[in-house]
């Protein structure tokens, strides 16, 4: 095996994975956005129930997300708004995870 190949193999075996924070953020963002979008629409398709006050209620618990995601409701429009909120929060979380991870790896491999 040539010296270059051995070096490549060493890089592979001894190297520490670095994360692409932006990509991780985007992936987590899309995932979270989709979870909210699908979760909301699933409740809409399933239908709601009439509560004690005689109101037709769909997904009362998910509705609570509206307290953090202003404008979010359990409706189709709400699912789109929720998607973007999820996307933003997921991206923020993923990017932060990637950033912190890379900083720790940098520190530990210094």
């Amino acid at each position: 095996m040539s010296a270059e190949k051995i070096l490549d193999e060493e890089r592979l075996l001894k190297g520490i994975l670095r994360l692409n924070a932006k990509i991780l953020g985007l992936a987590l963002g899309i995932l979270m956005g989709l979870v909210i979008f699908i979760g909301t629409n699933w409740l809409l398709i399933k239908g709601g129930h009439i509560n004690q006050s005689g109101e037709y209620v769909v997904g009362p618990h998910l509705q609570l997300l509206g307290q953090f995601f202003f404008g979010y409701k359990v409706s189709f429009l709400g699912s789109i708004i929720g998607f973007f909120y999820g996307l933003a929060l997921g991206t923020l979380c993923g990017t932060t995870i990637g950033w912190i991870y890379n900083k720790i790896v940098d520190y530990r491999t210094r």
Partner: protein, 595 residues
């Protein structure tokens, strides 16, 4: 353009290819061959118009430039032939490469079950030491399969017990395969459709090109082309001494008609067996170099060609004889290599190949006795009735295979280190480099040596370093560079502490801000968030609770992140192990074809 004559030692595939490439570039050369015929071990013998090959040389390569030369030189005379080769064991035939159903039927259900059991035993309880060939193969295939398909034939080829053959030799071909290469192929292979893949493998295994009248036809045609371009090929002209001083080879002492002749040159290319070459250096090389050269060993080989008075004997191009009862190692059916190899369609010509050492009993046996032995063994194997054998002839081929014993690498390194000083000498070919090059790789070393003389800077020792396997695919250098850069980033280990801390921190902050937000603003969601205290004891939707919640979620996030990284590393390591193992086995698939 180089000035002064270029002298090439040896008119085998390597030597002639070097001369051919140089002549195409308009550079003249002188080729010196000690034998009266060209082709080296890839020569073709003409016995009463029966042509036969020394060992059977398939024209089969993945090196495009070599393939192009074959086509340029022979054109239409290069036939596309189907391959059929089988293993003869226990009076039964097994396709080689092995086909599961055929092997199962041939070995019988009970034996197959024992083989399966032995395989799983070897996987579960492998031999901890892997020092011998036996241990190496048994650990991968099971002891039973090793005994049936590897032991006897390998012992015939090398003349020593498999317990004495180092595992290093067995792993030589797979050892050179880097993990990076294995991963690259594993990733890229998935891009090809299964159908295409099967087609490629089938073509590579089941077909090969072959000159109408055997490989000698190729080398003879090459000689004619070289000579037309004013280069010279001298046969029966052995090199007696290689004269050197400082970092240059100055001249050769060549024997011609009993006289010693001095031949000066500017550049020298040698395909002479390395041991022999070092012994011919004048002044003598340092003692440690000579000792190292003398440590390089060769396995020799003889063919008994028999003319059979039958139009057909068996359908194979060659058969591996694993039966320990007979000495013959392999039987070639030259008529199946090319129908033009036999002058009369009512007859067949078989070549019985015996592996031996120069000077041992077999080597020294008279031709008549060897022919008798071959006839007896053919009959004992039940392939041909002795009465159907018309006549035969014997060809002895010394130094057919360089031996990879436990000390060869060290000795070769010493020799190479000494030879590195010469800036006008290049070594090429199988014996020239003491390297298990097949015909195509021998030719490639020659082509590159010629290009070096024309100004390139190739490392000839880098050729055939990586073993090949049939599923291998060609990568563009640009693709290779991208993969080299990307793969370590994908398959490297993930830092468990790093991911644990990162996930823990984000989870902690998320709970902290959610709690603070609700604690300040209030709202229905408080009741639900408060439920977290069923897991996070002491948690409330307050400022204090936010800190407690942050600590809890950091801990859980930390644990989750650590576990995620651990599992990812575990499965990635397992994936890499499987790929490496699979490629090892694929590389081993055509193991017998390389003798």
């Amino acid at each position: 353009m180089p000035r002064g004559p270029i002298i090439i030692i040896g008119a085998g595939p390597a030597g002639l290819t070097a001369a051919y490439v140089l002549s195409k570039a308009g550079v003249q050369s002188i080729v010196l061959e000690k034998d009266p015929t060209v082709g080296g071990i890839a020569r073709t013998i003409n016995y009463k118009n029966y042509y036969f090959d020394i060992g059977g040389h398939r024209f089969f390569t993945k090196v495009k430039s070599v393939e192009n030369i074959w086509k340029e030189v022979l054109g239409e005379d290069l036939l596309r032939r189907n391959r059929l080769s089988r293993i003869y064991y226990n009076k039964k035939f097994f396709y080689y490469p092995l086909r599961p159903l055929n092997a199962l039927l041939g070995l019988g259900v009970w034996n197959s079950m024992l083989i399966t059991f032995s395989y799983f035993t070897s996987q579960l309880f492998p031999s901890r030491e892997e020092e011998t060939f036996e241990q190496w193969v048994s650990n991968r295939f099971g002891k039973r399969l090793y005994k049936i398909f590897f032991k006897t034939y390998t012992e015939k080829v090398w003349g020593i017990s498999c317990n004495e053959i180092s595992a290093e030799w067995a792993g030589q071909r797979v050892k050179g395969l880097s993990l990076m290469t294995a991963l690259k192929h594993a990733i890229l292979k998935k891009q090809d459709s299964q159908k295409d893949k099967k087609e490629i493998i089938k073509t590579l295994i089941d077909e090969f090109d072959y000159p109408k009248f055997g490989p000698g036809m190729m080398w003879q045609a090459m000689v004619e082309i070289i000579q037309k371009k004013s280069s010279e090929v001298f046969l029966g002209k052995p090199v007696e001494r290689i004269l050197w001083s400082g970092n240059k080879v100055e001249a050769l002492e060549v024997r011609r008609d009993g006289q010693i002749e001095l031949l000066s040159g500017k550049y020298f290319i040698s395909s002479m067996p390395l041991r022999e070459a070092l012994q011919k250096f004048k002044p003598e090389v340092p003692k440690e170099v000579l000792d190292a050269a003398n440590d390089l060993k060769y396995r020799d080989f003889l063919t008994v060609a028999l003319i059979i008075n039958k139009p057909e004997v068996f359908p194979d191009t060659w058969i591996y004889i694993h039966d320990p009862e007979v000495k013959v190692g392999r039987i070639q059916n030259f008529k199946n290599w090319s129908p033009f190899m036999v002058p009369e369609s009512s007859k067949t010509c078989l070549g019985l190949e015996y592996f031996c050492f120069e000077g041992d009993n077999l080597w020294n046996m008279s031709d008549d006795k060897l022919i008798e032995l071959a006839k007896r063994e053919l009959s004992a194997l039940g392939l041909v009735n002795q009465n159907d054998v018309e006549e035969g002839t014997v060809v002895r081929m010394p130094k057919a295979y360089p031996i990879y014993n436990s000390t060869f690498q060290k000795s070769l390194d010493v020799v190479r280190q000494f030879l590195n000083r010469f800036d006008n000498l290049q070594l090429i070919g199988r014996n020239g480099m003491h390297k298990y090059n097949n015909q195509d790789h021998s030719m490639l070393t020659a082509m590159l040596s010629a290009e070096n003389i024309l100004g390139a800077n190739h490392d000839l020792w880098a050729i055939n370093v990586e073993p090949e396997y049939h599923e291998e695919m060609t990568l563009e250098p640009s693709e290779e560079a991208v993969l080299d850069k990307l793969l370590p980033g994908v398959f490297s280990r993930m830092d468990q502490l790093g991911l644990a801390t990162a996930v823990g921190s984000v989870c902690g902050l998320l709970i902290f801000f959610l709690t603070i937000g609700l604690a300040i603003r209030g709202g229905d969601a408080r009741i639900y968030l408060q439920l977290l205290n069923q897991y996070f004891f002491g948690y409330t939707v307050t400022l204090k609770g936010a800190l407690i919640g942050m600590a809890y979620s950091f801990s859980w996030g930390f644990l989750f992140g650590w576990l995620l990284a651990y599992l990812r590393n575990f499965f990635m390591a397992y994936y890499i192990y499987r790929i490496k193992r699979k490629v090892e086995l694929l590389t081993f698939r055509d193991f017998l074809d390389h003798f």
